[in-house]
Every structure is written in C-alpha cells, then in structure tokens.
C-alpha cells in the first residue's frame, strides 16, 4: 500500500520536477565529460552542496519554524574538520566526517540548548551571535591560517575510493544529497516530524497535549547541524580550501534565500532554490556584460530585483507553488 502511495505521489508537477531534477544531476557528469569541460560538473557539485546545506536548514526553518541565522557555523565546522586534520596528516575521510559530525552535534547541543530558551527575533539574534563567535574563533586560530584559512593539499580518501577526481567528488556529493533528501522525507512524516511540525503551527496546542517542545526542537536543531557539517566537509573538498569566510553570516542568509526561493517546508524545494540561486549568480554577470557592458559590476542589483519579484509572484517558492503532493503528503 505504501509503495502504491509513493508511486502515485510521483505523478504530479512536483513529482515530475523532482524526478527530472535528480535525473539531470545524475546525467550531468557524463555530459560534462563528453564536452570535456569540468566547469559544469564543478558548478553542479557546488549547487548540490548548497542544496544539502539548505535541505538541512529547512528541517528547522521550514518544518520547525526556527529561523536560524547561524547555520553557516556548522558548515565552517565541517570544512575545518577536513583541513585541520589534513594539516596534521589525517586525510581519511571517515575520520574527518566523524570529527565534523561529532563536533557539529556537540556544539549544536550546547548552543541550541541556549538559543531555544528564546524564540522569534531573539532566536535569530542569538544564533547569529554564536555564528559570529565561531567566525572569530576561526580567525584567531593563527596556526591554522587565521583570517587567510588553510588550503587543502589533498582531498579526503575513504579507503576504497578517494575524492581526488572531480567525478568522484560529484558522485559522493550526489549520494549524500540523495540520502539527505530521503532522510528528510522520512523524518517529516515520522511521529517525531509530526510533533515538530505541530509545534511550528501551534505550540500552545502541542504543549497542552503533553508534548514538551524543547526536546523536539533541540533534536531537530542537532540533526540539522550534523547534515550541514557534511555540506561543509564537501565544500572544503570541492574548493581545496577552508577559511573563516565559510562561517560568514551572509552564507546563512543566502541559505534562507535559497529555501524561500525553492519553497519552505518542502523536501525538494531547497534543491530547486539552490540551483536557481547559483545558476543566476553564474549567468547574470555574463548576461549583463553582453547587454550593457557599462553596468557589468551592477549584476548583483539585478539578482536582488529578480529575487524580490520571484518571491512576490510565487509566495510559496518555485517548487512550493507547484501542485501535487510529491514527495510531501497532501496538505
């Protein structure tokens, strides 16, 4: 019965976008290889990493109603969990991933327990404050490059395979994104996810039922941080570099824009949002240069206007505005 339900969900605009998007991502490395141009594969890897980070933020922002401006902190942790161990000669990806996830979980548990004493605007500000603390901590680590960051001389290896080639990194990132999407899909429809979504809609009611929101919110915050740290791990491998800038609050802001563009509280929306945002960011400078060379440096203004227009027209996001339940359950 469940398989039937799942199959019928795919026959909707959302389901079709979902399948086409994933198929395009699966086919892209072969196209990129055929064109002998690694540019597209690298761009797509970047899109998937941003998508992974946005998918993780969407757990708390979209489904939990917790708007965090500190999410980049966990990307920073994930990135430094690659470069610092490598600096000390540890290039094993499993160990690096374990460090990333454990550190992210620990710091999320600590900071989350404090942030969740507040909500709304205060929550946003405290998450931002913690992210800034992490940012300046990274700046102050002079032996790890301080402000300049650390380059990564060697990408992570996983025993049986390494991420040295762009193709391998692409495949690994794609697999991580697929896993995360499947995880979030299961999560939001699970008993845990139901309570989390209930808290977002009406916390007073959920408390009166006998659920203590704090435990659910903190668990979601930690889960979300762990997935974000994996995005950081991948980002460091992609750029062969990690610096405090990976923890800049502007990155958290971009992730929020990506989620809103794609559709909050949808499983696949952040992927659509990430593709849209990064493709525009790549294409706009060239477009503006071709049409009006004098205004080349003003392309970001046009990006801003486009984002405003898209958000105004499609209030629930590009993907969120599509009809169909897939892969979410009917509203």
């Amino acid at each position: 019965m469940m398989m039937n339900g799942l199959l019928s969900q795919w026959r909707s605009p959302r389901g079709i976008v979902c399948i086409l998007g994933l198929l395009a991502l699966a086919a892209l490395p072969f196209v990129s290889a055929a064109l002998d141009s690694p540019y597209y594969a690298k761009l797509a890897t970047r899109i998937m990493i941003y998508a992974l980070a946005a998918v993780s933020l969407n757990i708390i922002l979209g489904y939990g109603g917790m708007v965090s401006l500190g999410h980049s902190m966990f990307i920073l942790i994930g990135a430094y969990a690659v470069t610092i161990p490598t600096f000390h000669g540890i290039t094993n990806g499993w160990i690096q991933l374990a460090i990333a996830v454990i550190c992210a979980a620990g710091i999320a548990a600590l900071t989350g327990a404090i942030c969740l004493r507040t909500n709304g605007m205060a929550f946003i500000m405290i998450t931002l404050a913690f992210a800034q603390m992490m940012f300046f901590l990274a700046v102050s680590m002079k032996n790890y490059g301080g402000d300049d960051g650390l380059t990564l001389p060697e990408r992570s290896h996983f025993g049986l395979f390494t991420l040295t080639s762009n193709g391998a990194l692409y495949g690994f990132t794609f697999a991580a994104l697929l896993l995360a999407l499947f995880f979030v899909y299961r999560l939001v429809n699970s008993p845990f996810g139901m309570v989390l979504r209930g808290i977002k809609q009406n916390e007073r009611r959920v408390r009166a039922l006998g659920h203590s929101p704090f435990r659910y919110q903190l668990s979601a915050y930690i889960l979300s941080a762990c997935i974000a740290s994996i995005a950081g791990f991948l980002l460091a491998n992609l750029t062969n570099f990690a610096s405090p800038a990976y923890g800049a609050w502007t990155l958290s802001g971009e992730l929020i824009v990506i989620i809103i563009l794609g559709g909050t509280a949808t499983v696949f929306g952040p992927v659509v949002g990430a593709a849209l945002f990064l493709l525009l960011e790549e294409a706009l400078p060239h477009l503006v240069e071709a049409i009006a060379p004098d205004y080349k440096s003003n392309w970001m203004m046009i990006l801003g206007i486009l984002i405003v227009v898209m958000t105004l027209i499609l209030k629930r996001g590009m993907y969120g505005s599509l009809s169909g339940a897939a892969p979410e359950r009917a509203k």
């Binding site: 469940m2 995880f183 299961r186 999560l187 429809n189 699970s190 008993p191 845990f192 996810g193 139901m194 309570v195 979504r197 209930g198 809609q201 009406n202 007073r204 009611r205 959920v206 408390r207 009166a208 039922l209 006998g210 659920h211 203590s212 659910y216 668990s219 889960l223 359950r329 009917a330 509203k331």
Partner: protein
C-alpha cells in the same frame, strides 16, 4: 472522592483580581458547569488548572497530587485535557493528523525518525476512533484550515478525547455553533457522562442545565454559589448577579 481540588486560588493582573480566593471541587464522574458573566475569570481559571497561567496563591490538587506549579505538558500527561474557547489547532494538518498528534502524546516515546506516522496502525486507529466519536469521519482527511467553525469545535473535543484524559476541561464547546450542531454536541457530551469528570464553561444555559450535575457561578473572580442546577436556578444572589439579566 474529588478528582480536582482547587483551594483558595488567587490570580491578579495588576489591580484586577481575576481569580479571587476560589475553592472548588470536581467530583469523580460529575459534569460540573462553570457559569458567569463575561470577564468573570472562567477562562483564567481553566488556564491555571492546565498550567498556562500560574496562580499568585492557593493550590490545585489533581487526584490528590499537588500540580500547582507543574509545567503544562506534565499536567497534560497526568490526564488533564482541555479544549479551547478560541480554537487552537494545527491549521496545515488534516483533522485526523491533529488527533494523531494527541494520540502520540499518550505514548512514552515519539523519537522515531524513520517510521511513517500515517502507517502506524496504533496511532491512526485511535485517532480515527476519536474522530468518529465526534462525528467528523467524513472530514477526517480535510485540512483544518478549510473546516467550518462548528467542525473546529468538534475537532477540539476529538483531540481532547484522544488523549484518554482523566478529566476534561471544556471551554465553551458550543460557542458559535448552530442550533443543530449544539444539539449534537450536547447529546455527545451526555453520552460521555460518567466516563470523564468534566469542568464545563458555557454560556448556553439550556445546555448547562441539561448537562450539569452541579453548577458553580463565578462573578468578578469569586465563586458566589455551587449547587445543583435546580438550587442555582432558585438562588437569589445568582439571579441578581447573572441569570436575571
């Protein structure tokens, strides 16, 4: 034996005493109506019983246990279920999902990240049963946002029933209902008589006198009378303060 004992409860908002030395017992199995003019402090009293507001003085005992300072979820777990005067539901969820959330609250552990809640027979069946109890089965899979007002009131009750509570606190369950809907709700509450002790806040006097075993009258935060419906009807103070108007 009293299920709920409220002793000398006091709640002040600045200069206003919303609950003025209230002492009230709810006996096992009884339907106890709480009536009084607007602003008498009926909802404030319910909020203190469930813990959404904390009293400035006095105590609340539930099944002989002092719950005066316990947090809301702990009290709910001990068996206190309330319905709200102004509907409090999860609007994006369907009617059934709202009740499922209540069923889940009875379980020891909801930290299952990978199971489909909609595939858990235990949760779904219990929720469907509560939905059927209030007669909402045809609307079970409709989102709360598009349900009618009367249906929201029914759903509020289904949610409370799904908690399998030891006591029901119903804050104006008939508010805004049509005549027909009201009659159905009164019949439903009649059916539940004896299963749950109830504290019923209601303005519909026909319903109150049809349902209540005892009635307490609250005026300006003070209980001026607690008695059987007939005695309340004949009570001169009550007539002067409330019923006479």
């Amino acid at each position: 034996m009293s299920v709920l004992e409220i002793k000398n409860l006091v709640k002040r908002f600045g200069g206003l005493t919303a609950t003025d030395n209230v002492t009230l017992n709810i006996e096992a199995g009884e339907i106890h109506a709480l009536i009084g003019p607007n602003g008498a402090g009926k909802t404030t009293l319910i909020s203190q019983i469930v813990g959404e507001q904390l009293p400035d003085g006095g105590s609340i005992l539930f099944n002989a246990e002092d719950i005066t300072h316990l947090p809301v979820p702990t009290r709910a777990k001990k068996g206190l279920a309330r319905s709200y005067q102004i509907t409090q539901l999860c609007k994006e969820f369907t009617a059934l999902e709202n009740v499922m959330l209540a069923v889940q609250a009875r379980r020891a552990n909801n930290f299952h990240f990978f199971r489909d809640a909609h595939a858990e027979q235990e949760i779904v069946h219990a929720a469907e049963y509560a939905i059927a109890q209030v007669g909402l089965t045809p609307r079970a899979h409709t989102a709360v946002a598009v349900l009618a007002h009367g249906e929201h009131r029914q759903l509020e009750l289904a949610v409370a029933l799904a908690l399998k509570p030891k006591m029901l606190l119903l804050d104006e369950p008939l508010a805004g209902m049509s005549q027909g809907e009201s009659e159905e709700m009164v019949a439903l509450l009649q059916n539940l008589r004896g299963q749950y002790p109830m504290l019923l806040v209601e303005h519909d006097m026909d319903a109150v006198f049809a349902l209540a075993d005892r009635i307490s009258v609250l005026v300006y935060g003070r209980v001026i009378a607690t008695d059987t419906p007939q005695a309340i009807r004949d009570n001169a103070d009550v007539k002067a303060a409330y019923l006479g108007h």
